[in-house]
């Protein structure tokens, strides 16, 4: 078994609880004093920061949701002045506005430390060459993995995504030993290598840290087989910190949550009731050490369960099962979060289309996720010229790309062909097999 910081990762649980309680009380005070939105929430619940003395008081705190970020866009959730913010990242929001997150210098250090634990759990050391194919940019994946690998002292190749041929060339020439990317990209790299007559099993590659999208045990087996490596699941979301929230050890049975920095709860998504370990429900996080963006009981909308049994690796932290689904309609396409409401807001602004659409997501074997948006054409739009329709398709695809940040195939369909259901219509057909 490998560790980055064995003492902390295997900390006695009683000591961990005391640490969590202290840190929770401080975080609530920090949030209450410096973020008007949190002050309002706690005031409305009739709570003063002094009421939160420790873990036993956690349940009293009101939930925070993604829309709180929208309502306080862009920096309203920050608890420190901008001169202390050294980094800004952003992810998709439910409507036109992104979810914006900020980091102080200490937050960036914490994040690097947590990613060092993540990579360290798969045996990454300063002798490794880390091939980082997570996207660099507003997305937290690229820089998150990068800083963690640098913290360890490994040699980082900041590949970012895309250009698979070049990725394989560099992987071979530089002798990459560690791979960081989405699971579907790992599979694509494997398939592309095979097509090019290159056997990754014979390469120096040893372990991969895969996350940012849902995957399955059968995909893990396939990736491990094809690349001749250990494939470990990693988890995070930018609101909490980015990747580094939880990580698998070589035992590969659930993801260890970094509990000295985050408290995890599982709730019933309909009632908000807290559920005991082992129950499936929505994952909720409270941050314990973050300065720029303290997070109180943030509803992730990810569905999973928590296993509090002792892991053979010796780490004392509880483990979350790989994410099993969502309690909202968010889709993750090639690592990018997509809400159907974003697509709707684009279509509403384009004359000639009906607000009836269908999202079809597919992951062909060994390929990346593909998203098709089927749009009904309105009678006033249909022209006698194909090029007018083609230019409409291109325009919709262009606007979707600018809002979502991913390429989408647009398909025009006849009016009334997309099923209307009572109430909430069925907007998404997800053909990916995400549950083994």
């Amino acid at each position: 078994m490998y560790y980055w910081d064995k003492e902390t990762e295997c900390m006695d649980r009683a000591r961990l609880r005391t640490l969590q309680s202290e840190r929770l009380a401080n975080t609530v005070k920090h949030a209450y004093t410096n973020v008007p939105a949190y002050k309002r929430k706690l005031d409305e619940a009739g709570l003063s920061p002094n009421d939160i003395k420790g873990l036993d008081d956690l349940e009293k705190i009101p939930f925070t949701v993604k829309n709180d970020f929208r309502d306080n866009y862009p920096f309203g959730m920050f608890a420190v002045p901008m001169d202390q913010i050294v980094r800004i990242h952003a992810s998709s929001g439910t409507t036109g506005k992104s979810t914006v997150v900020g980091y102080t210098r200490a937050d960036v250090d914490t994040w690097a430390e947590l990613m060092a634990r993540t990579l360290g759990a798969g045996g990454t050391t300063k002798g490794d060459i880390v091939h980082n194919a997570y996207g660099y940019g507003l997305f937290t994946g690229g820089l998150g993995a990068h800083y963690g690998a640098e913290k360890i002292g490994a040699s980082v190749i900041p590949m970012s995504g895309g250009n698979t041929k070049r990725q394989l060339q560099i992987m071979q020439d530089f002798g990459s030993t560690v791979l960081c990317c989405t699971p579907s990209y790992a599979l694509l790299l494997g398939e592309s290598a095979a097509e090019a007559g290159m056997d990754l099993r014979k390469s120096a590659l040893r372990v991969a840290f895969l996350g940012a999208e849902p995957w399955t045990e059968s995909m893990r087996r396939e990736i491990e087989e094809l690349l001749g490596i250990d494939a470990l699941d990693i988890y995070g979301l930018s609101e909490v910190i980015g990747p580094g929230v939880s990580y698998e050890c070589m035992d590969k049975h659930g993801l260890h949550i970094n509990e000295d920095h985050f408290i995890a709860e599982i709730i019933n998504p309909d009632t908000g009731e807290v559920l005991p370990p082992g129950s499936i429900g929505e994952l909720v996080f409270t941050s314990l050490t973050k300065e720029a963006l303290p997070l109180l009981r943030y509803r992730t909308r990810d569905i999973t369960f928590i296993d509090d049994s002792q892991c053979p690796c010796g780490r004392s932290s509880v483990r979350m099962h790989r994410v099993m689904g969502r309690s909202d309609d968010m889709l993750i396409i090639r690592g990018v979060n997509v809400f159907p409401s974003q697509i709707e807001s684009v279509l509403i602004d384009i004359e000639g289309t009906e607000p009836h659409y269908l999202i079809v997501v597919d992951r062909e074997h060994g390929k990346m996720d593909e998203m098709e948006v089927w749009v009904e054409v309105s009678p006033d739009l249909v022209s006698d010229e194909v090029r007018a329709l083609e230019s409409l398709e291109r325009r919709i695809a262009r606007e979707l790309h600018s809002v979502l940040g991913i390429t989408v195939k647009v398909k025009l369909v006849e009016p009334k062909t997309i099923a209307r259901s009572e109430g909430k219509s069925k907007r998404v057909i997800d053909r990916r097999d995400l549950n083994q």
Partner: protein
């Protein structure tokens, strides 16, 4: 001078074209000429029918998206170079043709070709000065 053409948006699904022709048949509408422009996902069926207004209403009622467009039905001499002569006139005048297709049936010794032209009115004036015959809707339907 202009003739109404019906355009129907048809998804590439089996049976869709049959649905269109069946709807027209049930409403006693006669198709005089047609062409299909197709892409991977859908096609545009363009037709000249004996009663465009009734055809549009019947097809819309059956759930199709239908558009009416003005086109020109031009008499083309039925001999080598007949069509070339007409197109030369348009080309020399800098008038672009969007698309064209032939008509079922003839007028006397001549063939009829349907033209969709971007500057329709200008084209009519020019073609008439060159003694090209452009058919009216009524003339077409009585052929």
């Amino acid at each position: 001078m202009k003739v109404s053409q019906i355009s129907v948006f048809i998804e590439n699904k089996s049976g869709r074209l049959a649905d269109v022709t069946r709807t027209l048949a049930d409403n006693s509408i006669n198709i005089r000429a047609l062409s299909i422009a197709d892409t991977i996902d859908y096609g545009l069926l363009r037709m000249i029918v004996n009663d465009p207004v009734a055809a549009k209403s019947a097809l819309s009622k059956a759930g199709f998206t239908v558009a009416l467009t003005e086109v020109l039905a031009i008499e083309v001499p039925d001999r080598p170079g007949g069509l070339a002569g007409i197109i030369d006139i348009l080309a020399r005048s800098g008038i672009n043709i969007e698309y064209m297709y032939a008509f079922v049936g003839t007028s006397g010794e001549n063939a009829i070709v349907v033209f969709r032209i971007e500057k329709t009115d200008e084209a009519i004036t020019i073609l008439q000065t060159k003694d090209v015959r452009i058919l009216t809707g009524d003339e077409l339907h009585s052929l």
